[in-house]
């Protein structure tokens, strides 16, 4: 078992980066690895609960819940999330809220890091 930490910085809908990260996390878990997901920038919209799954749009809520049930730690950047008007009470349960140093601390104990940046 090894540890992978991923940073996601893109919006839930649009670039397909969150879809990618969710599938990759799921595959890593299936292979017995440990996964940490850090959400920052526009990716923090992903933690809003009550996402309506319309077939024209990527969706995150059910996937995040599924990953957390499988032991994935997911944390959202507090400041980024508050800036977008999303409060803890609005968020999917089980998602951690912390400052950016959470990501650095997870990286410290990770074997591999995949920072999904880009535009």
């Amino acid at each position: 078992m090894a540890v992978l930490s991923m940073g996601i910085f893109s919006s839930l809908i649009g670039s397909m980066s969150t879809d990618f990260a969710i599938k990759l996390a799921s595959s890593a878990i299936e292979k017995g690895h440990k996964v940490n997901l850090w959400l920052s920038g526009n990716a923090v919209g992903l933690v809003k609960k009550s996402q309506k799954h319309l077939k024209d749009y990527s969706t995150g809520e059910k996937h995040l819940i599924d990953l957390m049930q499988k032991g994935v730690e997911i944390c959202t950047c507090e400041a980024c999330t508050y800036a977008r008007g999303i409060q803890k009470a609005d968020a999917i349960e089980g998602v951690q809220w912390n400052a950016m140093h959470w990501y650095l601390a997870k990286i410290h104990s990770s074997d591999r890091v995949l920072q999904i940046g880009g535009e």
Partner: protein, 98 residues
């Protein structure tokens, strides 16, 4: 250094990859990066494919874009999400996302 570079877009606005040197370089085409494996602009393959690197392309992302049965060059290995996990942990030490 063993570096796995994820190319996630077709129009790359960065030239970092062109200038990086790495003992072992893997280029993994994902998302719109998969178009590099199939589109030939003016008959020419993508310049991205001319490096001294191992090439991979993600099947799910080919299929998403209508390229599931496209002809892929022999030097590009078509892979799954599970294969990416193995590549990251077993073949490379660091990753880059372009």
């Amino acid at each position: 250094m063993k570096l796995a570079v994820f190319v996630s877009d077709y129009r790359l606005n960065v030239d970092t990859l062109d200038r990086l040197t790495s003992a072992k370089l893997g280029i993994i085409l994902v998302q719109n990066g998969v178009y590099h494996a199939t589109l030939k602009e003016n008959g020419k393959p993508s310049s991205l494919l001319g490096k001294n690197a191992d090439y991979y392309v993600l099947m799910d992302d080919l299929e998403t874009r209508g390229l599931g049965s496209a002809t892929i060059d022999d030097n590009i290995k078509v892979i799954s999400y599970g294969d990416i996990v193995d590549l990251i942990f077993n073949e490379y030490e660091k990753t880059a996302w372009l």
